[in-house]
C-alpha cells in the first residue's frame, strides 16, 4: 500500500491505496468524490478531467501516487460555495449538456483553458476541447457555453476558479 496525501477542493485528504490505483478511482472510490466520471480505458474521452495544480489532466492517466503532495480541483470544487462557476451557469443557460456524463470533464477542461486563454475564438475553443468527447450535444452548445462564459468572466473582471 502507498500513502497518498493531497489537497482536494481545498481540503487535505490522505489515504493508503494499492500502488496501481488510478487517480480517478482514488477520487471516486477512496475519497467518495463521484462527480468525476469514467468513460473509457484509453484516456480518449476526457470524462475524468480534473485540475492538478490548476491545470487540466485526465485523472485516468495518472496514478494516485503521482498526485501525492499536490493540489486537485474536481467538479465538486468548481463552484464557490453556493455560487456556481460562470461556466456552470453558462452550460445551463446555453443547453451545453444533455445526459451530463461528459459535463464534469468538459467543465474542468474549459475552466483550465479559459485561464490560459480568457478570450478565445470559436475555433480556439473547439481545438481546446479535442480531448473531451460528447455524444449528445454535437458540441455546438458546449462551444457556445464556453464562449458565453468567457464573455461573462471578462465582464466580471476575470473571476472563476
Amino acid at each position: 500500500m502507498t500513502t497518498v496525501s493531497v489537497t482536494v477542493n481545498g481540503a487535505m485528504r490522505e489515504a493508503d491505496v494499492e500502488p496501481r490505483t488510478l487517480l480517478v478511482y482514488f477520487l471516486r472510490e477512496t475519497l467518495g468524490l463521484t462527480g468525476t466520471n469514467v468513460g473509457c480505458d484509453t484516456s480518449s474521452c476526457g470524462a475524468c478531467t480534473v485540475l492538478l495544480d490548476g491545470e487540466s489532466v485526465k485523472s485516468c492517466t495518472l496514478l494516485a501516487a503521482q498526485a501525492d503532495g499536490r493540489e486537485l480541483t474536481t467538479i465538486e470544487g468548481l463552484a464557490n460555495g453556493d455560487e456556481l462557476h460562470p461556466l456552470q451557469e453558462s452550460f445551463r443557460r446555453n443547453h451545453g449538456l444533455q445526459c451530463g456524463y461528459c459535463t464534469p470533464g468538459m467543465l474542468m477542461a474549459a475552466a483550465s483553458y479559459l485561464k490560459e486563454n480568457p478570450s478565445p475564438s470559436e475555433d480556439d475553443v473547439r481545438l481546446a476541447l479535442e480531448g473531451n468527447l460528447c455524444r449528445c450535444t454535437g458540441y455546438q452548445n458546449i462551444v457556445k457555453s464556453i464562449l458565453d462564459a468567457a464573455g461573462s468572466m471578462a465582464g466580471a473582471g476575470g473571476g472563476g476558479a
Partner: protein
Amino acid sequence: MAATETFIGQPVLRKEDPELITGQANYIDNWTMPGMLWMALARPPYVHATIDGIDTAEAASMPGVVGVFTAGDLELGALPFVWPITEDIKVPVHYAMASDKVRFNGDAVAVVVAETREQAIDGAEAVAVSATELPAVIELEQAAKDELLIHDDLGTNSVVHWSHGGAGDQSIFDSAPVVVQERYAQPRLIPNAIEPRGCLAYGVPAMDEWTLVSSTQIPHIAKFTLSGVTGIDEQKLRVIAPDVGGGFGSKLNVYAEEALALGLARKLGRPVKWIEGRRENYVATTHGRGVIHDCTIAGTEDGKIIGMKFVELADMGAYYQLLTPGIPELGGWVYMGPYDPETYWFEFTGIVTNTTPTDAYRGAGRPEATYVIERIVDTFARRIGKDPVEVRRMNLKPAFSEATAAISGLSVDSANYQATFDTALGLVEYDKLRAEQHDRRERGDTKQLGIGLSTYIEMCGLAPSNILGALRYAAGGWDGATIECLPSGKVLVKTGTSPHGQGHETTWAQIVADGLGVTPDDIEVLHGDTLITPLGMDTYGSRSVSVGGAALHFAVEKVKAKARTIAAHELEVSEDDLEWGEGSWHVAGAPDKAKTIPEIAVSAWHAHSLPEGTEPHLNATAVYDPPNFTWPGGAHICVVEVDTETGATEIVKYVAVDDCGTVINPMIVDGQIHGGVAQGVAEALYEEAIYDESGNLTTSTMTQYLVPTAVEVPTITTDGSHQTPSTTNPLGVKGIGEAGTIAAPPAVINAVIDAVSHLGVTAIEKPASPERVWRAIQDAQHQQVQSGQGGAA
C-alpha cells in the same frame, strides 16, 4: 395564485441540469452498498471456437474471489428476444454465458465474483478456456453461403427473410423509361454512449425480493423480461434506471450482465455490481447498421419517380438481442421517403455472423432506409441530367394536414415536405452555391464544392399496440402518466418514459404547467423506477413526447375534470357554469369566483367538504395507446469542400430544417438536432467498426474508432419555423430524437459525391475517409483515361 404564463413553446431552462453541472448526478457507477461484490466476465480471445473445457481453478484461488460460475451454475433462462418478425424465423438460442461454442468476440464463458472491482477483473483474466478454433464468418455474403454455420442447430446462417409484399405494378422495374440500379453498403457502427453500461443487483434474500439498478433506457421492459430469465416473481422485482449517461439505442436492450448480476445476487445473498469497460462495450454492447442494399429506382426521363425497390442483407451478429431482426423491418415502412412512387418493394434477409449482435442504434432501420433512398434519388437525377433539387421538387408529396395513406401501407399523420425543403434551400443559398461550384470547377480549384440534399421522413412515436401485435412484437406501444396534486400546491408527475439526456423532466413539466395553471418550478417529474412509475414502456424510437407526453395530456384532463366537480361544489354552482381559463375553474362571466388547482388540491386532501362520492385526492393516471405512428419530416443540406489532392472533406455549412410537429421546448429540440446530426456526420465521414479476417474487432478502443470531437463536428443551422401538427395525438407532437441521425448521412455523402462528380465519381461509400475519396477520384480518372473520355482535372 395560478400561473397564467404559457410554457409550451418556450426555451425553458432544464430542470435536470443543477445536479449534472455540479457532479451530484447518480450514474450507476456511483451506487455502492454494504457487502457489495463485483462481477467481471471472462470473454475468451476467440471469435468462433468449440469450447473443449473451462478451467476456473486458478481464478477461484485468486485473492478476493468469492466464486467463479459457468453456464450450468446459475439457473438462468435464455436471454429475451421479443420480436420474432415472421412465423418461420430461426431463433438462435442465446444464454448469458456460452457453454458449447464461442460465437463472437464478446461471448462470455464464465463470471467471476470478488470483493473488489480489480479482483473481479483479475479473476476473469485467470479463467482458462481450451477451445478448438473455427474459421470466422464475418462477411454477409460469405455467411449466406452456409459453408460454415454459426448455429449448427439452425441449419443455415440466413435466419430470417421478411418481405413487405410490395405495392403497385412490379413489372415497372423492367419497363420504365429510366431504371437505375445501385448497391450501397453501410458499415457497422458502435453507439458509444459516453457512459458505458453497468448494473447493481441487491435484495432481501429471505423475501426473494430483488432490485436491479441498471444504466438502461428500458426499466419496464427489463423488469418483465428479466423476471422470466431469472425466475424472480415479477411482483418482487424492481428495476431502477438511475441517471443514465446516454443510450442511443445501445441501452434499449436486456443484456447478459443484467441477468447475471440478479442471478448472482440471489445465489450469493449479497449485492453484486458490474461496470462495463470501454473495450468490453465495443464487443459486448450492441452495434448498429451493418447492411447492404440492392436498390432500384424507376422513373421518367423528365424526373418523375415511378417505382422504388430495395432488397437488403442485414447483419444480425452472432445472436439476436432484444429486437435485432425488427430493426430492418422498422425501416420497411419508409422506403418511399417523402416521395410518391406508384410501385414499392422492400424485402430483407437477416444473416448471422461471428460478430457482436446488431440492434437499435439512433434511428433504427430508418437511417439505413433514408440513406439508400436519398443516394439513389441523387443517382437518378445525375443519370437523367437534372438538378437534384428539381427532381425532388417534382416528387415531394404535396402538403396534407389529415392522415393520408402511404404506399408502404401505413398512414402518414400530416406533412409539409416542400415547405421545409424551400426553407432549407433558402437558408443555404442554393443558387449561389451552385454558381460558386461552377466557378471552382471552371478554374479547376483543388478544393471543390459539393452540395448534398436529404429530404427525409421518419416513422416515430412507437407505437400503436395493435400494429405492433400484427407485426409480431411481443409488447405494446402505450405509455402511462400519473399526476398527483399535492396539498401544498406542488405537483408530482410520474412518467413511464425513461430519459437519458433528452430533458423529459423539463418538457413534461411544461406540458403539465400549461395544463394545470402552475409553473414548471412547482412540478417534480419522476421516472425510471418500476416501483414509482409502474405503467411505462420506456424511451426509444422518438416515442416519449408523442406517447408519454400525450398520456400526460390525458392525465391533466382527468385532473381538471375532477377539480371541476370539487370547484363547482365549493362555489355552489353547477359544473356546467364553470369555465377553465387563466389557470382556474371560474364561473362563466364572473372570473373572480374561481378555484385554482392548488386550492382544489388542498380541499381534496383535507376532504372536509367534498361532493358525495368524490375520493379525497386530486390525482389521476392515464394510459395512452396511440392510434397511429407520428411522421416527422424535413430537409437537410450539407455543403462540403473536398480537397481533390488529399481526399479530405470539410463541412463548410450544414442546414437542418426539421418539422417535428408542435415544439414544446425549442432549446431542447435544437439540442436533439445538433446531437443527431453530429452522429450522422460521424457515420458519413468517420465511424466504422472494422473486423479483421479472423473476426477480431480491430477498432476496439476509442483510439481506433473515430468518435468525432468538437473540431470535426460542424456548426449546424436549424430552423424551427415549420411545425405541422401531428394528427395522431392531441399535443400535435411528432418527436425529434432521431431526425438528425436519419437525415444527415445521405446529406453528407451526397455532398461529397457532388463535389467530385465532375471528375467522373458516381459513388463513395460511408465513411468517406480521405483515402476512400482520393481513391474514388483516382479510379474515376483512370477509367476516363482508359475510355478516352478526357484527361485529368
